[in-house]
Symmetry: C2
């Protein structure tokens, strides 16, 4: 004999197939998950396309969504549209347009992110960076390069020197030479840097506090189901775009790649409002945001496939295959839009596209792995130092003066950066210089080799062959070494300030400098020791055997990998930058080493560390839960705690329910048959409950505090003078997730992650307790000896 | 008050933190999921590294694994190793080697699949294909190209004509010209084709019946958790490798790409036996198999990234990020191994690597989309026709004569293919020819354009500019048209025969022919109508505006997309073949169109269609469950069926249990408190139960049919003369998955897919029924009006 708890209800139908017309009861139950009808009779089919009660089924700020409910809502909606489409042509067209709205949205996201934003940001930042050094006389809106193009008086060699472009010293002091001119330029450089950064930080503070930082930790959390209202809003978009340009131009040690992801997500979120399907469904919207993250990286690095893999690997939580395909589409659209805008004037997507010509040798894997170790150590140190600094900012008085902090850091950066040409140039330019393979015509200091004198003797006329370092290169190496130390120190305190700041470019710059230094070192070692066993056979005199640019690239990948712990996406992004399958192996070796070394000191990347620092409720999908605890160890109430706050299905009054809800802060309540039996009927959300009661009190006649709240299908018999009952079966989730008390926590955590739950009831033939995401995170914090109270939200 | 069902047990500890030493009871419960101890006391911690009872926790052939249990088992194992590693240095080393064994395995898989197999298969197939036409006098083991290289008497132009290479007519009849020589060659061609295919089909039938077909449908099913013993075994590997070479060489319309995936998976499966971690855990082994699928595609197309995405998109079921990274590693190793073997002598990974030089114009999107429509229609038609043919083979007498069928098809293929040079050459060579961009020196028939006479008049000396078709090209077009019809018809009956047969190359060939035809058509249209509005501005006389090779490539992608419904992976594979971001947009447009057109006629690709044809239990992760049924509509028992077969926790004897197990065919039984209350305690698997009882009867004293089977911690009081009870709590799963009867089926299906369940219990405050994967598949079949009895396995 089976047990039925809904005492007056008829036996459940155990029919093999769907009885004609006899489905309504269950359909109502299922679609009421979505729409949340108040007082709807059990046989009335609720139309999921209409919200009968505004607010029911939505979420509060700083709360986690229920993925299962959202996806179920979307399926109900889809089913409804499909069913209707058989009825009329208009409905059929509606169904088709609904199916294609996702693609249209992706197209729009790609176009908007690629053109208006990435292109605009690139052009504006380029112009403003040059403004720190001088101004164009033909028109102040031209940047240095453009100014000299327009002038037509320049040769190819001196394309960046032309009479129309005046440095500030020339304009103000009338001279371009001498110490006085240098000081004028220096001061003007600091002035502009301070002005830009002041504007940036004040704009952020005044209009959009969410616009600061890289935004990736928050986007990761949002994609996992958290709600931060306004984080992806129009103000954030506008202010972040403007201040990103200002911050990048101010010369601070930060990049635009991370913030571009945030900006692209803002675009996507705003465009979502054009389509009901995405506006009303938090889960569907997150699919679009995942694609937008791919778009952001795609325009930042000109790497559409790398962008999609970045989104898949690093930021996304729920990434169905359909989203993979759409992300790819959006990323491609964005990349092509950006290329047609051509912000760098070279029909390349990025400033540091590289082409190497010489192959690498197996022996070189040793220095590459060395770079990997350096990258891993740098990643670990950076994360630890940056988190310590950010924690200090959070807890001490330092955090109260963000403007002063930004101005101070800018002043220090500008003061130290100006004298060294490698720190004065922007991060992207620096990398472009470091990745560069020296050709004969190259006038760069890094290519200051001595010309070989004995080419005729050796019979080799390969002018690209390895050559001894000249004085130019030696100076460059010193400057690079200083730049390395400067970048390492300044990046730690820059990341996390109240301006938009990305981490990709500074991290990569550190690695690129280290790599170039090692590369030149290897090159010179090989030049002077051709007869060593190590070099014999592949690096004979006159051979072009070691490419320092490749070392720079490998170093950049290693350092970025150490900080972010990206793997596949990093290698693919780098592969798309070089375009050659050849160099994947060095990149892979360095990235793997870097990740292993960094993981040995702590498994979390910079983004996870910031998520933890901020106490967001984020269940890392990559980490395994290793402890052997059981659900019963984690659930609330604990032993000694007061009993779980539950509602009964048909014996509490509106007043009692209100008192219970008011006296607790839980976001949902299990509904049981009676306080005595504790047999589970369903689960009801606090917000839905409050809205429904509030609405009923206002609109429904006779609902008073003494009215009975009824979650069953049929009302219990009441005395005739009693007020009418308030029927709330519509907002009751009849299929809450349950696990038994003996379920190991590793399985429970897996269920939470994979299904995207926010709570789960623990049963043992009756309700025993509840586990929320916060409980799990607190339990995990406790296991790894961290403060469980650092988890702030649910 | 909470309800406890285990009547004599002490109250459950609701402790906040882990009580020291007080954990054992639960740990035993959790790790006994893994090890399955028989008769272990409740306080004894079971070592998950040792199997106390062989067979417990394993699966029968043609059954689905329990992903949750397997993953939990692996976590227990890992926890054990980690805990031990703190004790001694040896254990620490063991832990480190355990962590790196995954990488080592990947390296081995990459090396083995890349070298021994893919390289060997390429070289052997190349040689044997040439053997059909003639033999090398220097050494019969040289293929045509190699033979003429070695001879050194050949010029670059005539690299494939040299005196050392003799056609069969020259050898047998002494003449290379005339109708007699032609007939001799024709007959020899048919003879070799028949010999090769006869050998292939007899070897498959005699030694490894699983070696036939492409293997991808079965691998998809295996990766989703199904067990087919021997499918990935050593015999399958050996026989499939040999017969694949034979089948490809026989000239049948089939490719080696799909079977290469199968072969790579066999390698991986065999190598798994070297590592305990993978040998003993079905879930971990499937991670390796997913990576192996990526390796297969990586070596087939020289596309490591495309291979990984193929595995992710098309074949894998459970693909954690860790596997993504490892697959990428393995795919790269394989690609580089293959390249160092250099089977094609051009340091390229594939025969049809292409480089285009001319850009494409937006107007050309129209013909590309047209190709997409063609691809979609071809895909639909192919799937329908092939499935109908395969069903006929299954149900009629045709299936009883596989050898005759293969010989007949081979004879027809050889007979029709020989006279047409485009069908005579292998699929890969055909594609290489069709993708080719005509240069001036090209002697191929497809480049038989008339030389422009008026270059001096127009002042343009671009010899690559569009030219009118000459007689050579016209002949080629006729031959291609005939080849298209032939390929379309023969591929339908070839795929599914009892020889290894891939589908990629034949599908792509169909598309490539169609694309090339359309491309040449467009080119000639533009040549004769330069003044049309359509061509004005971008395709003026003398411009190199239309590349027929690109059309062939787009057509190939469209047709492959129509048949397999691949998206991202297809575009990335094609991108890796061309190496240019430019051509992604045409490829994407065609692939998207093709998928949409094909999906309009039926959502399943060829692999899913074959899975369904074979009745495998596969829950398609891409398809949404759209119906609004509830768990109660799907569960067993149905209304009117006999009650669910359940065990009670402490009131059934060994004899009763055996009778119950014997009289049913269920693969597991819920355990309840008593027949009267139906309160759920746990779930026990049939196999574990049988093995444990069998073992106890043999080894344990006093276990007779009258012994009580006890699933509780403490035995109930028994009369003193009663036989000792059989304690089976160790094999009881104390945390079976449950859903309520009101749970919508879309959510239930989602749970099944995401967690990889094989069964789920339906409760309503007590056990109500059970839903298995088979029940869900039957329900889905019923909804879409298919025969529910076509689902054969569970």
């Amino acid at each position: 004999m089976y047990l039925y708890s809904l005492s007056p209800s008829p036996p459940l139908p155990l029919a093999t197939s769907v009885p004609p017309g006899g489905y309504d009861e269950y359909s109502a139950g299922s679609s009421s998950r979505a729409a949340g009808m108040n007082g709807s009779g059990p046989t009335k089919l609720v139309d999921p396309l209409e919200d009968p009660l505004p607010g029911v089924g939505t979420y509060e700020d700083f709360n986690t969504i229920d993925w299962v409910r959202e996806k179920s809502k979307d399926r109900d909606r889809h089913r409804e549209i499909t069913n209707k489409s058989r009825e009329s042509t208009v409905a059929l067209l509606h169904s088709v347009s609904d199916a294609f709205s996702g693609w249209l949205l992706m197209l729009l996201v790609g176009l908007m992110a690629g053109s208006a934003l990435a292109g605009g940001i690139d052009i504006a930042a380029h112009w403003m960076t040059d403004l720190k050094e001088g101004v164009c006389l033909i028109g102040f809106w031209f940047n240095h390069e453009h100014c000299c193009w327009t002038s037509n008086e320049t040769t190819f060699q001196e394309r960046d020197r032309c009479p129309q472009w005046k440095s500030w010293a020339e304009l103000i002091a009338g001279t371009a030479q001498g110490p006085f001119a240098y000081i004028v330029n220096y001061l003007m450089y600091i002035f502009w840097a301070l002005l830009f950064s002041f504007l940036a930080v004040t704009l952020v503070r005044a209009f959009a506090p969410y616009a600061c930082g890289s935004g990736i930790p928050e986007i990761k959390t949002i994609l996992s189901g958290f709600i931060i209202r306004g984080y992806l809003g129009k103000w954030t978009l506008i202010i972040k775009t403007i201040t990103l340009v200002l911050a990048v131009s101010s010369g601070l040690s930060l990049g635009k790649e991370g913030p571009l992801v945030h900006v692209a997500c803002c675009c996507a979120n705003i465009l979502c409002h054009l389509f009901t399907k995405y506006r009303k469904n938090e889960a569907k919207r997150r699919e679009v945001l995942s694609a937008a993250a791919a778009v952001g990286v795609s325009v930042a690095f000109g790497a559409p496939i790398g962008g999609v893999l970045f989104s898949l690997e690093e930021v996304s939580y729920y990434f169905p295959l359909k989203t993979l395909w759409r992300s790819f589409f959006a990323a491609l659209v964005a990349a092509f839009t950006l290329r047609s805008i051509n912000p760098f004037g070279n029909s390349r997507l990025v400033l540091f596209y590289v082409e190497f010509h010489a192959p690498w040798h197996l022996v070189e894997l040793a220095p590459f792995i060395l770079l990997g170790i350096f990258g891993g150590l740098w990643g670990t140190l950076f994360i630890k130092a940056n988190i310590a600094w950010c924690r200090m900012r959070k807890t001490t008085r330092l955090g109260h003066y963000p403007v002063i902090e930004v101005l101070l850091v800018t002043a220090v950066t500008a003061l130290l950066a100006f004298p060294n040409s490698y720190t004065r140039m922007s991060g992207a330019e620096l990398m472009s210089e470091l990745f560069n393979d020296c050709s004969l015509l190259d006038s760069s200091q890094l290519c200051g080799y001595k010309q070989p004198v004995n080419t005729s003797e050796t019979g080799v006329d390969n002018s690209l062959a390895d050559r001894p370092a000249g004085p130019g290169l030696c100076t460059a190496l010193w400057q690079l070494a200083l730049a390395l130390i400067f970048k390492i120190l300044i990046t730690v305190i820059t990341f996390g300030m109240k301006v938009p700041s990305g981490l990709f470019i500074p991290s990569m710059a550190v690695g690129a400098i280290a790599g170039r230094l090692l590369g030149v070192g290897m090159e010179q070692l090989a030049y002077y020791n051709h007869d060593w066993l190590l070099f014999r056979g592949w690096c004979s005199p006159g051979a072009d055997c070691i490419t320092p640019g490749l070392y720079a690239m490998v170093g950049a990948a290693a350092c970025l990998g150490g900080v972010t712990r990206m793997t596949v996406s990093l290698v693919v992004i780098m592969f798309e930058l070089t375009g050659g399958l050849e160099y994947i192996v060095p990149l892979m070796a360095a990235t793997m080493t870097s990740k292993w070394v960094a993981d040995a000191f702590g498994r979390e990347g910079i983004y996870e560390a910031h998520i933890r620092l901020n106490g967001y409720p984020f269940l890392e999908p990559k980490e395994e839960f290793e402890h052997s605890s059981l659900a019963v160890d984690v659930m609330r109430p604990r032993r000694g705690d007061p009993a779980l706050a539950v509602l009964t299905q048909d014996s509490m009054t509106v007043g009692e329910v209100e008192t219970l809800v008011e006296s607790t802060h839980y976001s949902g309540f299990p509904v049981v048959i009676s306080q005595e039996s504790q047999r589970l009927v369903g689960f009801v959300l606090r917000r839905d409950l409050l809205i429904s009661i509030d609405n009923a009190r206002k609109r429904q006649d006779g609902i008073v505090s003494a009215s009975l709240v009824v979650f069953t299908e049929h009302c219990p018999a009441q005395p005739p003078e009693a007020p009418p009952p308030l029927r709330l079966r519509g907002i009751l989730d009849l299929s809450p997730f349950t696990v038994t008390d003996h379920t190991p926590m590793d399985i429970t955590v897996d269920i939470f992650r994979k299904l995207g739950l926010r709570q789960c009831l623990v049963t043992h033939n009756g309700l025993l307790g509840i586990i929320t995401k916060k409980d799990i995170l607190k339990h995990m914090a406790q296991i790894s000896n961290r403060d469980p109270d650092s988890i702030l939200f649910n």
